[in-house]
């Protein structure tokens, strides 16, 4: 039979199209991704390279153009400029306040709302509502509520005989106010992620544990919490990165004040770059932010790998 096959003539050359099917698929694929890819090059990769270069230049209102100065800006930020460490300290306080509070509240709400009961939809809808609201609108309303004199919060406190502070005018209170209002705004998102994770845990585990006489707390600490670990990790990193990016909320509520008490990294970049036009220095700050976010992401990936093993 093999002989017959090889005796038959084929007409390969006359039928070959100008593109093979394989080459054609490749071309089509690049056509599909090209809008995305070109945009990526112009608005992301190009600017990312540029910001690396800017960070190595002296470029401000006085110079009006970029002069290469090597790592001078980094030296300035890390070693000389007291503002920088102040900002870092603020950002860290902000993150340390926001992340645990946000996560603890999100998990508590999720545990309460992961099983159907009368009113569950109402509560989920309520706790999630601030997430879809503009941060500016949210900050406007809270700034209004938190005014020193005549602000609603202080008027309520006055009813029980407490003289409330001038929340947004005293550095410590301002930071606390910004953190708490931000938690209220964003906790719904983490709550939803936790609910999804909780609902993905098979009921069998809990039922088996209950048959063995485990208490509610034992079931949570020995079954639910360990099974939530991957979700907790993701939420922790996302929330931490998110806390370093907070800008609009602080812009509207405190403008970085008082006495730079709420001046965090993202706001500092904006201030240096677009208010004071210190392009070189602002780019250096952007690079530092980039490194922090990357480091957090790498930590997350590594922890997740470790968790899988």
């Amino acid at each position: 039979m093999t002989d017959i096959i090889h005796n038959l003539k084929t007409t390969r050359t006359s039928q070959k199209p100008w593109l093979t099917l394989k080459a054609r698929e490749m071309m089509e694929a690049w056509l599909f991704v090209s809008p995305s890819f070109i945009g990526f090059l112009i608005f992301f990769l190009g600017p990312l390279c540029a910001v690396v270069y800017y960070s190595l230049t002296e470029w401000n209102l006085l110079t009006q153009q970029a002069t290469f100065v090597g790592l001078r800006n980094f030296e300035n930020a890390l070693l000389e400029n007291p503002d920088f460490w102040h900002v870092v300290r603020n950002s860290v306080i902000f993150a340390l306040g926001l992340v645990p509070l946000n996560m603890a509240l999100a998990l508590t709400l999720a545990l309460a709302l992961s099983r159907p009961f009368f009113g569950v939809v109402f509560f989920r809808t309520v706790f999630f509502a601030p997430v879809i609201t503009s941060a500016i609108a949210w900050a406007i309303v809270w700034k209004f509520l938190l005014q020193g004199e005549g602000g609603f919060i202080n008027q309520v406190l006055a009813l029980v005989g407490i003289t409330g502070p001038n929340w947004l005018r005293e550095p410590g209170w301002a930071m606390a106010a910004v953190i708490i209002t931000r938690v209220i705004k964003m906790v719904g998102l983490n709550m939803i992620l936790y609910i999804a994770a909780l609902q993905a845990i098979p009921r069998d585990y809990e039922e088996a544990a209950r048959l063995e006489g485990a208490s509610r707390w034992q079931i949570f600490s020995m079954i639910t919490w360990p099974l939530l670990a991957p979700t907790t990790l993701v939420i922790m990193v996302i929330t931490t990165i998110g806390s370093f990016k907070v800008f609009d909320h602080i812009y509207q509520m405190t403008g970085g004040g008082p006495e730079n008490g709420t001046l965090v990294l993202a706001f500092y970049i904006y201030q240096q770059g677009f208010k004071f036009f210190n392009v070189g220095y602002a780019s250096t700050l952007a690079m530092i932010m980039f490194v922090i976010v990357m480091a957090l992401t790498i930590v997350q990936v590594m922890l997740r790998r470790k968790g899988m093993e």
Binding site: M1, T2, I5, Q15, T20, K22, E25
Partner: protein, 350 residues
């Protein structure tokens, strides 16, 4: 008019060779079944013919056209998928007419062909339903209907019955056979179920590790397997393979070719006899009663297991010692590489 010719077909996925040089001729109107264990490349071979995978090397002719670089839709083939692949957002009618619409067949002609196919497959009442409203068997029929309306030169079936329950599978099998009889179009059918292969095929292609082991009619494969793999793959329960020396013990009439290393004998060709000298002996270690027949697991003295089917109602009891005999012409001999040795008795037959 639509024969197929595969010349030295190869397919690599990266460094993995899935198909390693397949030569095959499929004649017009033939029903060809690709069969083999999972991972043997039978589905890949079908997908190479359909054009859903690119051929790495070799030539594929459909009719007198070289189609290596021809789009799937222009090869004149239609495919019935394992999962049926019915568009969930379209009705049965639109599912069947979709290909025609893409090919800009006028609406009137389209309707005529859909109705014709629907009548053939008894789908008339279901035309305005959505796939999710159909049973498994009905979906299967729609999938076939979709293939028919395009009036293809070649039908390709990719394990079309594997998602159906046993009863429906037997039924659809006969419907596909009837369809082939009526259309007498070339059909290529992939399955891992050798019963499907045996009942449907004009020609079976047994594949292993991306190579053809044997091509032939079901009867040829059963009676004259080219090697030990085919011998054991075709037929159920599978063929027993024993050291060649046993041939003389099974029947004194056996003529053992000089280079034969093993002898194969199917369970249904072994006869139970009393244990005595000059006969293969063994102990019954398990009896599986299925009604029509009883399957005996017999442990031979060297520890090998040998299967025997017995339609005798007086099956031997568990643990008893029995003897086994066979007719000389039912023995298959294989050399040290597992290739078939022509028994001396074959010479006369051919």
């Amino acid at each position: 008019m639509t024969s197929l010719l595969l010349k030295g077909i190869e397919k690599h996925f990266g460094s993995v060779n899935v198909i390693r040089g397949v030569d095959l001729r499929i004649d017009d109107g033939e029903f060809v079944v690709f069969v083999g264990p999972s991972g043997c490349g039978k589905s890949t071979l079908l997908r190479l013919i359909s054009g859903l995978e690119h051929i790495s090397d070799g030539e594929l002719m459909i009719g007198d056209r070289l189609v290596n670089e021809v789009q799937p839709s222009e090869r004149g083939v239609a495919m019935v998928f394992q999962s049926y692949a019915l568009y969930p957002h379209l009705t049965v009618r639109d599912n069947m007419g979709f290909g025609l619409k893409v090919r800009k067949v006028p609406a009137g002609e389209r309707q005529r062909r859909i109705n014709e196919a629907a009548a053939t497959l008894k789908l008339d009442a279901l035309l305005d339903r959505y796939p999710r409203e159909l049973s498994g068997g009905q979906r299967q029929r729609v999938a076939i209907g979709r293939a028919i309306v395009g009036n293809p030169d070649v039908f390709l079936f990719d394990e079309p019955l594997s998602n159906l329950d046993a009863e429906l599978r037997v039924h659809m099998r006969s419907e596909i056979a009837a369809l082939h009889k009526r259309l007498s179009t070339t059909m290529i059918y992939v399955t891992h179920d050798q019963i499907e292969a045996m009942t449907l095929a004009d020609k079976i292609v047994v594949l292993r590790d991306g190579r053809i082991e044997q091509v032939g009619s079901p009867r040829e494969l059963y009676e004259r397997p080219a090697n030990m793999f085919v011998a054991q793959f075709i037929g159920s329960p599978k063929m027993n393979v024993l050291p060649a020396a046993n041939a003389q013990l099974l029947t004194p009439a056996a003529v053992v070719p000089a280079s034969a290393e093993s002898v194969g004998v199917r369970p249904e060709h072994l006869k139970v006899s009393k244990a005595q000298d000059g006969i293969v002996r063994g102990k019954v270690s398990l009896c599986e009663y299925t009604g029509a027949i009883t399957l005996l697991h017999v442990t031979l003295p060297d520890g090998q297991l040998c299967l025997v089917t017995s339609d005798d109602h007086m099956a031997p009891s568990l643990g008893s010692e029995i003897g086994l005999t066979a007719q000389a012409e039912k023995l298959h001999f294989f050399d040290h590489q597992g290739r078939r040795e022509k028994p001396v008795s074959d010479v006369g037959v051919q």
